[in-house]
Symmetry: none
């Protein structure tokens, strides 16, 4: 349960729940529901009542600050029919913090040390608002600050170990397989037999994101040993079916997987971009350490730049146009020369909404890959609006690049 | 209500709810609670029952994909005691999409056009899964895909207008002022007196996003005429206080505002990027029609490229290093020459986590602006991790660029 009007107004995205969900899954607690509620006392109480109906543990963040709209502590005291009492160790901790920062301590800051009489205080090493642990009629309620790094520290220091101690739940295992280049429904079709044959305690989820699909196996304990090992043993059969689309068997990005391949083969790379306007270079350089293999890019939006910086022939532009496989191939080959790289990729297209020609419609995108031995190119017709056409062009190019580097001839 | 195990496992952060909260606030609807639930039918039904208790409108996203774990449609049909029927216009739409992408259409794709018999179908212009609108015993339920860009399009095209019509929402006026270059708390300080003097029916919201703050005035009907006119009359006093940070008085992006200034002054632009790796060019070219003024960029990650493509002097690199105001100035000036543009901007920095030198720490970023009359540069020390350092560097450079183009000498 995350508390705060700013969540409901969409002024803050609730990342706390995602962190808690990840950590709880690791110790084998399944999150039944995530609720974000307002700063109104009656609505917090209603949410507490509903939460205790469906869960044995209710983790609460937010509403513990020093200001007027921070009600959580007061609401919890009333909810548990108790009162707020001063917690001396917390008060001393708060005083130390203010001393360290040489700030005058106000009464509102002293009140940070007030806690409901029935709670166990969880020491907040990195902030003034303590965590609070309640055992109430068989349900555990834990209240934490909404500040992400304070919540994370309290989870790690206190909440997770205590939950592990109090509940002895079977562990859940996750195995993630990252794919790109094939849509969710086509993947599903290719692996239908494999999916149908999964043991009952192992479930498959498809997690599509833009131009990629993450496959997540979730295994629950079936009393047999080595659950993770048995899950990993399912992967060879998966690779047989969709191996060419798998770019990693761990949580990572397509650009990071490409970086690994470039490093392993000791290759350098650069890009020549028109319609993607630098997005491909931006994604490649988003990987820490990419300066090891990424040398640079030429964003050639204007045809002058395509000729002057990439050596695209004027005849090619005249005969085939800027958005053509012929031009994008010359762009990729030109980038290899100019940037002195082993591998270059290039894009040219009409992102829209304007720019259509008599022969080329909006959404036409040409992509090319060039290395020492070959140049390959493709043309797509996209229709998702400017921003998504650009994103999709970059994603398609990176997918093509990765398949080439992995030795899968696309 | 957002549906999907991936949300509860924390493998995906729920950004859909934040978007919906923002948009609903604009039309005067208060979000009572946000709930994220699993892919289990019984838990979805339980959440539907609870949601209808506390709200007149229940917006649902997720679980509309073509795969086995996408249950929402089936659950809703059962929940409303009806059955799934084929919606022919949607089927034709799905068929067109597959034709366009030259992909074979599978039975699972055809099933995307199945909808509960009691719903009104909302056309999904950018995807295969339609939106569904239900009026059930005085409560409105709306089901949308979980893919953010599809959900956003459905909200804008159909859901928000229908909600306004069905609930006869009191007229609300919004005036938005976009600012960049000053943090929320500093803005608040500068306009405190102005904010305090706002009439009771006009509220100010600070909507901070990365490196920018959107100020939104929301005016509710007070029976007096010309509410919007009276709101606009408040802006001159606001400009007096923070005019130099205001880049638009409408919903737009910093890069679009820059594009307008370039067009108005008939100037061309290009970029020379090291640490931002093409992000600045990508942002500038994300604006429709940017090919009118954007000619190209040179992403010079490796020092060879800085020298060879941008004419940075080897002495400069030797004496001051690649991450220095001296180098970034030469990059900007070199880009003006090489790209033949009126205005060029440049970045060089250590995004991290690696790359620190004896004299330069991680997060050091140098930015430059060059036009026919002047070259200016700045150095920042950032400490937000690689991805955010890059984002922040790009945002700071665009802010600096915009102020120069607007004639505000930074």
């Amino acid at each position: 349960m995350t508390i705060g009007d700013e969540l409901l107004y969409g002024q803050v995205v609730d990342t706390n729940s995602a962190f808690m969900g990840q950590e709880l899954a690791k110790i084998g607690l399944r999150v039944r529901q995530i609720s974000s509620v307002s700063d109104r006392a009656d609505e917090i109480v209603a949410a507490l009542d509903q939460a205790r109906q469906r869960a044995q543990v209710v983790l609460i963040t937010g509403g513990l600050g020093p200001t007027k709209d921070d009600l959580t502590k007061h609401v919890l005291a009333r909810y548990f029919h108790t009162e707020l009492v001063m917690h001396e160790p917390t008060l001393r901790h708060v005083e130390e913090i203010f001393k360290r920062f040489q700030r005058p301590m106000l009464d509102v800051n002293r009140q940070q040390a007030l806690v409901p009489a029935n709670c166990e205080v969880l020491h907040n090493a990195v902030g003034t608002a303590p965590g609070m642990w309640f055992n109430d009629q068989g349900t555990v309620f834990v209240s934490m600050p909404g500040v992400p790094f304070e919540m994370k520290r309290l989870m790690t220091d206190h909440v997770l170990p205590r939950l592990q101690a109090q509940f002895h739940l079977a562990p859940i295992e996750h195995v993630v397989v990252m794919t790109a280049g094939l849509g969710e429904s086509f993947l599903a079709q290719k692996i239908a037999d494999w999916e149908d044959a999964l043991p009952p305690n192992i479930k498959l989820a498809y997690l599509p994101s833009f131009g990629a699909v993450r496959l997540r196996l979730t295994g629950t304990d079936d009393g047999q040993p080595n659950l993770r090992g048995r899950m990993l043993a399912l992967l060879p059969a998966l690779r047989e079916r969709i191996g060419e689309y798998i770019f990693a068997e761990e949580e990572t990005t397509l650009e990071a997987a490409i970086g690994k391949l470039l490093l392993a083969r000791n290759l350098t790379i650069g890009t020549a971009e028109s319609c993607t306007g630098g997005l491909v270079a931006h994604r490649l350089t988003s990987v820490p350490g990419s300066s090891e293999y990424f040398r640079g890019s030429i964003v050639a939006y204007h045809n002058d730049i395509k000729q002057q910086e990439l050596g695209v022939k004027s005849e090619t532009l005249a005969q085939f146009g800027a958005v053509s496989e012929a031009t994008v191939r010359e762009m990729a080959e030109g980038a290899r020369q100019r940037l002195g790289v082993d591998v270059a990729v290039a894009t040219s297209g009409i992102a829209g909404p304007g720019g259509a020609t008599d022969t080329k419609k909006v959404g036409t995108v040409c992509l090319a890959y060039a290395d020492a031995t070959q140049t390959i190119s493709r043309e797509y017709i996209l229709d998702r609006g400017r921003a998504l056409n650009v994103e999709y062009a970059a994603q398609s190019l990176l997918t093509m690049l990765r398949q080439q580097l992995a030795g899968i001839r696309g």
